[in-house]
């Protein structure tokens, strides 16, 4: 706070008539203006730097991968030969994982959020659960992998199946879905509930017919973002043992599988440049998928941003 005092005295000094002081102060004024300008330019250049990084990242990937995108790339399985390699198995695996993870995590996460916001009593216990959810959301994804490996792959004997992978990812995104759904429910104004109660609605009618529809866009945004996190996730699936060389599309939840990020990792860690380019092509597919989901989420949020606190 001392610094504040200094600059404030200097500002007050500006008002004195003493000639010497005003010369000193005009010099100081020039200096202050200079720093102000300099800092503005600094902020501006960092944001430009951040944008340049994003542009370089995307341009680099497009340049390396675009020429490898062809119909064959989508319809071929992976191969030892770069020219014949494709992402059919990986895309099928990713879609399965996306679907399964969503169907495990969304009902659980949203209902947990409704319970915590609307029904749970205010107690130490609930507060503890809340802190706990926050910590789970910050836990490294690879630790979820270790948990999935012991619980689903070994104790429950699901082997390296789609089921084990999706359950692991569902655990991973569950805390994120709960937190974002809670935010959405919290943002519904109290007056809406009170109006419904005033009209004689019961608790469940208020929650399911008034609060939930109002919170739905917010909940959807959170759900889309967390599910898109699940399809980008690599580490936990590697830990539970998803394969990188799969030459079939999974037919049931018990089958072994691979997903796009694992395919990318596998190709990127090979020494040959052709495989790096293949990885770039697969990244393009993955990013298009993710960006589409992100845009959908942003669109939903901006269109329905009615109840914002």
């Amino acid at each position: 706070m001392k610094k504040t005092d200094d600059s404030l005295t200097s500002i007050i000094e500006l008002g004195t008539d003493d000639e010497h002081a005003s010369v000193v102060n005009s010099k100081r004024m020039v200096k202050r203006k200079f720093y102000d300008k300099l800092f503005y330019r600094l902020c501006q250049s960092t944001i430009i730097l951040a944008l340049i990084i994003l542009v370089v990242l995307i341009a680099h990937i497009l340049i390396s991968g675009l020429s490898w995108l062809s119909i064959d790339f989508f319809t071929n399985f992976t191969s030892r030969f770069a020219e014949q390699a494709g992402i059919k198995a990986a895309i099928a695996g990713s879609m399965w994982v996306l679907f399964l993870t969503a169907s495990f995590a969304i009902p659980l996460g949203v209902s947990a959020a409704i319970f915590l916001e609307e029904y749970a009593p205010k107690s130490k216990w609930v507060e503890w659960v809340q802190i706990n959810i926050g910590n789970l959301a910050g836990m490294p994804s690879i630790v979820y992998g270790l948990v999935g490996l012991t619980v689903f792959v070994r104790y429950l004997n699901f082997e390296r199946s789609l089921l084990a992978g999706s359950l692991t990812l569902a655990l991973l995104v569950l805390p994120i879905i709960i937190i974002s759904s809670q935010e959405a429910i919290k943002a519904v104004p109290l007056s809406l509930r009170e109006a419904a109660y005033a009209l004689g609605a019961r608790k469940w009618q208020v929650v399911f017919l008034q609060v939930l529809p109002a919170a739905l866009p917010g909940i959807l945004t959170g759900v889309i973002l967390s599910v898109s996190r699940a399809i980008g996730e690599t580490a936990p699936l590697i830990v539970i043992g998803a394969l990188s060389f799969v030459a079939f599309t999974p037919g049931s939840i018990w089958d072994e599988f691979t997903v796009l990020p694992i395919q990318i990792y596998n190709w990127a860690s090979k020494p040959q440049v052709e495989f790096h380019q293949l990885a770039a092509a697969a990244i393009i597919v993955l990013l298009v998928l993710l960006f589409a989901m992100n845009f959908l989420a942003i669109y939903l949020r901006q269109k329905y941003q009615r109840y914002k606190l």
Partner: protein
């Protein structure tokens, strides 16, 4: 709700159990303070410090890169950018945050490392610095948006008070905004450190798999996370010492990030301003 409690209990019990098996064979002291890590090649040695050292290089580098830049980006967003510019920039930041880590790993390996080798050909293909930079890029959006939240929670009246006294924008930022939000900036940093510790794919791809204690960031290292990937990819038999060692490392990783997250969330709560 009970699922989350079950998950927590499962994490603690499972990690605890498997680590207990591990510590039956290797003493805790020699694990925590040993300086030689060679779990896969005999003679086995399980001193975790080289892995911690690798992780610390990544954390240090990425935080030094991302915190100043993230802070300035947040300052720009909250103090300088017009609403229109902000409405374009925020989604861009969110896009950056949504890019999967394996993509960043690819970027480090095929762009940053060659760039660094172009400047200095002596640098190894896999090196800590490249991993640190890319993890820095990864955590940048997170720091920027946490700081931006903190800045927008500062009541406008304090800032207007500063302007009324004749302070210019830089002085308001330096003497009012930053001091008022320093605990939340601290919290953002701590949460970013926790993210960097747990980051896996980018460092596995970029920073190599050579566990060693080193003071040189331009050589290949191994982090705790990339060790777990290495073991689980290599089909280590369940119950074997290599397999168990990955759980011991996982436990350490879990405890480190847990402490960081608790501290970080505490700081956010303490800073009285309502948490978004």
């Amino acid at each position: 709700m009970s699922i989350t409690i079950l998950t927590t209990i499962a994490v603690i019990v499972l990690l605890g159990k498997e680590s207990f098996e591990f510590f039956k064979e290797v003493s805790v002291v020699s694990f925590l303070f040993g300086t030689n890590w060679s779990p896969l090649i005999p003679p086995h040695s399980f001193g975790v410090l080289p892995l911690v050292c690798g992780t610390m290089w990544i954390v240090l580098g990425s935080v030094l890169f991302a915190v100043p830049i993230g802070l300035l980006v947040a300052v720009y967003l909250s103090e300088y950018a017009s609403d229109k510019v902000k409405s374009y920039l925020k989604p861009v930041l969110e896009l950056l945050a949504g890019i999967p880590t394996v993509v960043y790993g690819y970027f480090a390996l095929t762009f940053i490392t060659p760039l660094m080798k172009w400047i200095n050909p002596e640098i190894e293909v896999f090196n800590a610095a490249s991993g640190a930079i890319v993890v820095g890029i990864m955590i940048l959006p997170m720091i920027a948006s946490l700081c931006d939240d903190a800045f927008s929670a500062v009541p406008g009246s304090i800032k207007q008070g500063g302007y009324a006294l004749g302070a210019n924008t830089f002085e308001v930022i330096k003497d009012i905004l930053i001091p008022a939000t320093k605990s939340r900036i601290g919290a953002a940093t701590v949460l970013a450190v926790s993210r960097a510790i747990g980051e896996t794919m980018a460092v596995t791809l970029a920073a190599g798999a050579t566990a060693r204690l080193t003071a040189d960031p331009f050589v290949s290292i191994q982090t705790m996370t990339s060790f777990i990937v290495q073991v689980t990819m290599g089909d280590a038999p369940a119950g074997g010492i290599e397999y168990l060692s990955s759980f011991a490392v996982g436990t350490l990783l879990f405890l480190m990030t847990l402490v960081m997250n608790i501290i970080g969330n505490q700081w956010v709560f303490k800073s009285r301003i309502r948490v978004v």
